[in-house]
């Protein structure tokens, strides 16, 4: 089916070939399933094909993540995490090891394997996971991350700091349980 407002196919192909690994990785991160990630990935680029915007976007990768995020929501493929609850920053810091004497446990927390980090990530809320993925793994700027998440830059900074501390807290908890 032809769409009169469709983006030129070669432009979509160029976007696909340049950003496919990053977009797939993002889809995999937000869906936590290979099958769902493939569905969202395909729907993302089909949506790009039907869009009139690609030639005007300033940050293609952030734009693709935004589309992928919307598609995942619409397809019911975005998994819910643990509900987030508010903790005072100092309390969160203490749970992450702030103010503790140095210990072998703390050393182990910062040198975990990918599998352990993935398990810890999967216990975090979707809000925490998304901001960690976009800022620390995909290395989007604060502005790009704010655009994808549709929140203010100040909110990105606050969420990111708390998400990093929660990841550290979770790793400490796993170290204690595994010890």
């Amino acid at each position: 089916m032809s769409n009169p407002a469709a983006a030129p196919n070669d432009l979509v192909r160029a976007l696909l070939l340049e950003h496919q690994d990053a977009v797939y990785r993002y889809c995999r991160s937000i869906t936590r399933s290979d099958e769902a990630a493939e569905d969202v990935f395909q729907e993302t680029f089909l949506a790009v094909l039907r869009s009139a915007e690609p030639s005007t976007v300033t940050s293609p990768r952030a734009w693709l993540y935004t589309i992928a995020r919307h598609r995942a929501f619409r397809m019911g493929r975005r998994r819910a995490g643990e509900p987030e609850h508010f903790e005072p920053l100092a309390e969160l810091g203490v749970a992450a090891g702030w103010g503790e004497e140095h210990s072998p446990e703390n050393s182990a927390v910062v040198s975990q394997t990918r599998e352990t980090l993935t398990v810890a990530m999967n216990t975090l809320s979707e809000d925490d996971r998304e901001v960690l993925i976009l800022r620390d793994l995909e290395e989007l700027s604060v502005r790009e991350t704010a655009s994808v998440l549709e929140v203010s830059e100040a909110a990105v900074r606050t969420r990111l700091h708390r998400a990093r501390l929660r990841l550290m807290k979770q790793l400490k908890k796993e170290m204690r349980h595994g010890a």
Binding site: M1, S2, A6, N9, V12, R13, L16, L17, Q20, D21, Y24, R25, R28, S29, D34, E38, F41, Q42, F45, L46, L49, L89, A90, G93, V94, A96, G97, W98, G99, E100, H102, N106, S107, V109, V110, S111, Q112, T113, R114, L117, T118, L132, D136, L137, V142, R157, L160, H161, R164, L167, M168, L171
Partner: protein, 85 residues
């Protein structure tokens, strides 16, 4: 923190609040200098900041090795794009 200190005009809580912005290089030079003076004089914050930064480096490096896209998925998508264009 039970042993909150005030070093270089900053409390440990204030350092904790700015820690991500500090490791991300987003702070004004004047505040960076004060945080660094605090870290030099407070071993609890220095250790925690060091561990926090190492965890982030480790996290970024490990996750970079995440599974990649199966080339067959790209092939199938290119076929669909061609048929829908």
């Amino acid at each position: 923190m039970a042993r909150e200190r005030n070093v270089a005009g900053l409390t440990c809580s204030q350092v904790l609040e700015h820690l991500s912005a500090y490791v991300d290089g987003e702070l004004e030079p004047e505040l960076v200098a004060r945080i660094e003076r605090h870290l030099a004089g407070c071993h609890w914050c220095e250790r925690f900041g060091h561990d926090f930064n190492r965890l982030l480096q480790n996290f970024r490096n490990h996750e970079k090795t995440a599974p990649k896209l199966d080339p067959k998925v790209t092939e199938r998508l290119l076929e669909r794009l061609a048929s829908e264009a």
